[in-house]
C-alpha cells in the first residue's frame, strides 16, 4: 500500500527488526511490571511438554494412554 505514496514511511529491514526487538522488550517490561516473570519458565516448560506429548502421541501403542489422560 505504501508503495503508492512516495512520501509514506517504509521501514528498512534493520528498522523492522529493531521494531520487533522493541516489541519483545515491551513484552518483557510488561510481564515484569505486572509481576508475571513466573510465566517465562512456565511457558518454556509448557513448550517442552507440548513437544514431548506430540512425540509420544506419534507412538501408536502410547497414544491411546495420552488420549485417555486428556
Amino acid at each position: 500500500m505504501s508503495t503508492q505514496d512516495p512520501a509514506s514511511y517504509e521501514p528498512t529491514r534493520v528498522e523492522a527488526w529493531l521494531l520487533r526487538l522493541g516489541t519483545a522488550g515491551a513484552l518483557l517490561a510488561m510481564l515484569s511490571r505486572g509481576g508475571r516473570w513466573w510465566m517465562l519458565p512456565l511457558t518454556l516448560l509448557f513448550l517442552i511438554a507440548g513437544v514431548g506429548l506430540l512425540f509420544l502421541q506419534s507412538i501408536h501403542y502410547v497414544a491411546p494412554f495420552i488420549y485417555m489422560v486428556f
Binding site: M1, S2, Y9, G34, M39, T43, F46, G50
Partner: protein, 583 residues
C-alpha cells in the same frame, strides 16, 4: 493544517477503518465490503485505501494511526490462560503460538510497513476502552454511564465506565474467562450456528420457543453481590479448546447439540418433518429462548448496577452483546435510564471508531464534537462511474429522475428490489443504502425473500423501515429506545391492530426490529417510504441487507449487479439508475 487520525480494528473478526479529520468522522469502512469475504479479519488495506483517496490524502498526511487493542496484553492473557488450563490447553497452544509469534505480536512493525506510517505515530488503545469510546464519544450525551459487553478483548469481558465530557473513567470490570459474550456464543455453537456470525439467528430462533431450559442455563452463570458475575467453567471449553466452546457437561445439561445446517422445523411450522424432528427443533428453540431470556436479564442486572454506580440519565452501550436488539428493547423499556445510545457498529468493527475518537478527545484533549448522525459513512460510487460499470456489464438500465417515487411504485406493484444509494452503511445493519426492499403487506413476501432472493433459513424474520413521523402509529417504541431504533438496534412491538396490515415484517412473537428513518439522515430513503405510504397507506417497507447467504453486503455497483444476477430480485435501483433483469 487539519489533524487526521486513522483508527483500525483487525485480526479477530470484522476488520474496519475509520478516518477522522479534526475529530469528525469523514469515513468509516469495513474490509469485508471491499474484499468480499464475510467477517474479513485481515488488516483493512482496501478500506484504508478508499478512506485516504476519498479524503484526498496519503498515509504521510496521517497524524496518528491507532489500533483498537493492545496486542501485548492480549498475548499475556493467552499465555496465562494456557498455563492456567494446562494440560487441557496443549491442543490449542501450538496453534495460538504459531499465529502470535508469526505475526500478531509484531503488529507495530506490520502496521508501519503496511500503511506507511512512522512508528512514533502508531498508538494502541485498550479493546474495551475502544468500545466504550465508540459508544460515548459518538453519542450526543455529555454525561453517561458506558457499558461494554463482549466476548473478550485483552482481559476484560464486561466493563463499566463513567463518561463525562472528554473523559472515560473506569468503574468496574469482569475479566476473562468469565464472559457473557462467550456464554451466548457457546449456546450459539450448541445450536449449530457459527460463532461470531450466528448469534442473531439464536435471537430469531428464540421467538419460536419457551424458556423451558431456564433453570439449566442459570446453572452456567453465578452473580455476586457487587454486580459482577462468573461462569461455571465446568461447562465451557472455549478458553482452552482449539475448536469447541462447550464441554460434554453442557451437552448433558441441554441435550445433544444441533448439527450445523440441520432443518429447523419447530411446532409453529413442522412441514413434512417427523414428530421426532419437530421435538428436536422445538427443544433447540426452547434452549435459544432460555439463553436469550438469561441474556436479557443479565443485561438488565448490569444496567441496574450501572445506574447505581454512575447515576446519569443516559446509558451508552457497545461490544458485540449490544447488537442484541431484543435485550436492548428490554433495557429501554424496563431499565432505569431515560436515554439509551448504542454504537451502530457495536462489535469489533466499531472499535476502530472508538480508538480514533479516544486519540482525538482523551490523548489530544480536544472538546466533543457532533454526535454520529448518518449511517452512510462508507464507499460512494460516483454516478458517472456507476453508469460506466453498468454499460460495461451490458446491463439493461434507464436513468430515473426520481428513484424514490419510481421504486415506491415498483414496490407497490409487488416487486422485490435491490436498493443501492449513496455510501455504505456503518455497522452490520442495512439502513436503506445497501438494502433489499419489498412490500410488507403480504405474508408470502417473507418466505419469498428468504427462499428465492436471499436463500436463507425460513424462520428468520425481516425488519420494517418506517418514516419517523409514522413510527408511533404502527409500533410501540419505548421512549428510551428512540435513538437505537434509528439504527435498527432495538426491537419494538407492532401495535396489535396493525399486525395484519404488515404480516411480512411481524415476527412470530408480534415484535419487529424496526428502523425509523428521518429525512435529515437518509433523505432519499425517507422519501421512498413517504411515496410508498402515499400509494398504499402503509409508510413501511420490508428492509433487509443486500447480500446473499454467506456473503457480505454489496458495496459498489459491480457487487450489486453480481448479487442481482444470482438472486431472485425483480429490479435493481443503483445510484440513480433502474436496472431490469435480462430476459
Amino acid at each position: 493544517m487539519p489533524v487526521y487520525i486513522l483508527g483500525i480494528s483487525a485480526l479477530y473478526h470484522d476488520s474496519a477503518a475509520v478516518l477522522l479529520r479534526d475529530g469528525v468522522v469523514v469515513g468509516a469502512a469495513q474490509e469485508e465490503r471491499y474484499s468480499r469475504l464475510k467477517h474479513d479479519a485481515s488488516l483493512p488495506v482496501r478500506a484504508v485505501q478508499w478512506l485516504l483517496s476519498d479524503a484526498g490524502i496519503t498515509a504521510s498526511d496521517l497524524d496518528h494511526l491507532v489500533f483498537y487493542e493492545k496486542p501485548l496484553r492480549k498475548f499475556e492473557r493467552i499465555l496465562a490462560t494456557s498455563v492456567a488450563t494446562f494440560p487441557r490447553s496443549w491442543g490449542a497452544f501450538p496453534r495460538q503460538m504459531r499465529s502470535w509469534l508469526g505475526d500478531k505480536l509484531w503488529l507495530r512493525s506490520t502496521l508501519c510497513a503496511t500503511f506507511g506510517v512512522r512508528p512514533e505515530r502508531v498508538l494502541f488503545c485498550e479493546h474495551h476502552l475502544s468500545h466504550a469510546a465508540s459508544a460515548f464519544y459518538a453519542s450526543p450525551h455529555a454525561e453517561a454511564a458506558v457499558l461494554a459487553v463482549d466476548g473478550v478483548g485483552e482481559w476484560a469481558t464486561t466493563t463499566l465506565w463513567r463518561g463525562s465530557g472528554t473523559t472515560l473513567e473506569p468503574i468496574a470490570e469482569v475479566r476473562w474467562p468469565h464472559s457473557l459474550g462467550m456464554l451466548y456464543s457457546t449456546i450459539t455453537a450448541h445450536l449449530g450456528f457459527a460463532v461470531n456470525e450466528g448469534e442473531y439467528k439464536v435471537m430469531g430462533m428464540a421467538a419460536y420457543g419457551q424458556p423451558k431450559f431456564r433453570a439449566e442455563v442459570d446453572q452456567l452463570l453465578r452473580w455476586d453481590a457487587s454486580g459482577g458475575y462468573a461462569l461455571d467453567l465446568d461447562y465451557f471449553s472455549f478458553h482452552w479448546h482449539p475448536t469447541r466452546s462447550g464441554t460434554p457437561a453442557l451437552e448433558r445439561l441441554l441435550g445433544p447439540p444441533r448439527f450445523p445446517g440441520a432443518p429447523f422445523t419447530p411446532a409453529a411450522f413442522p412441514g413434512d418433518a417427523t414428530p421426532e424432528q419437530v421435538a428436536d427443533s422445538q427443544r433447540y428453540a426452547d434452549v435459544a429462548a432460555s439463553a436469550q431470556a438469561q441474556m436479557e436479564e443479565a443485561m438488565l442486572r448490569l444496567v441496574a448496577h450501572a445506574k447505581a454506580a454512575v447515576g446519569t440519565d443516559a446509558l451508552c452501550l457497545a461490544g458485540g452483546v449490544a447488537l442484541n436488539s431484543v435485550a436492548n428493547r428490554r433495557i429501554a423499556k424496563e431499565g432505569p435510564f431515560a436515554h439509551l445510545w448504542v454504537q451502530p457498529a457495536a462489535g469489533d468493527a466499531g472499535g476502530a471508531m472508538g480508538a480514533a475518537l479516544w486519540v482525538w478527545h482523551a490523548v489530544l484533549g480536544n472538546p466533543r464534537g457532533p454526535a454520529l448522525s448518518r449511517p452512510d459513512l462508507g464507499r460512494i460510487t460516483p454516478v458517472d462511474r456507476a453508469r460506466e460499470m453498468l454499460t460495461d456489464l451490458g446491463a439493461k438500465f434507464e436513468v430515473v429522475d426520481d428513484p424514490a417515487r419510481s421504486a415506491a411504485a415498483d414496490l407497490a406493484a409487488g416487486k422485490v428490489i435491490g436498493w443501492v444509494q449513496g455510501g455504505d452503511e456503518w455497522g452490520p445493519r442495512a439502513l436503506g443504502h445497501r438494502s433489499i426492499l419489498a412490500d410488507p403487506r403480504s405474508a408470502e413476501t417473507k418466505d419469498h425473500v428468504n427462499a428465492r432472493v436471499k436463500y436463507r433459513e425460513l424462520f428468520r424474520p425481516f425488519a420494517p423501515a418506517v418514516t419517523v413521523e409514522a413510527a408511533d402509529a404502527w409500533f410501540d417504541i419505548p421512549e428510551a429506545a428512540r435513538e437505537p431504533v434509528r439504527w435498527m438496534l432495538a426491537t419494538a412491538d407492532v401495535r396489535p391492530e396493525k399486525r395484519a396490515a404488515i404480516p411480512a415484517v411481524v415476527h412470530v412473537d408480534g415484535s419487529a426490529r424496526v428502523q425509523t428513518v428521518d429525512a435529515g439522515a437518509s433523505p432519499l430513503f425517507h422519501r421512498l417510504l413517504s411515496e410508498f405510504g402515499a400509494l398504499t397507506g402503509v409508510p413501511i417497507v420490508l428492509n433487509t441487507s443486500f447480500n446473499l447467504k454467506g456473503e457480505p453486503m454489496v458495496s459498489c455497483t459491480v457487487d450489486a449487479m453480481a448479487s442481482f444476477h444470482r438472486s431472485g430480485l425483480d429490479l435493481l435501483y443503483v445510484d440513480g439508475f433502474r436496472v431490469e433483469r435480462p430476459r
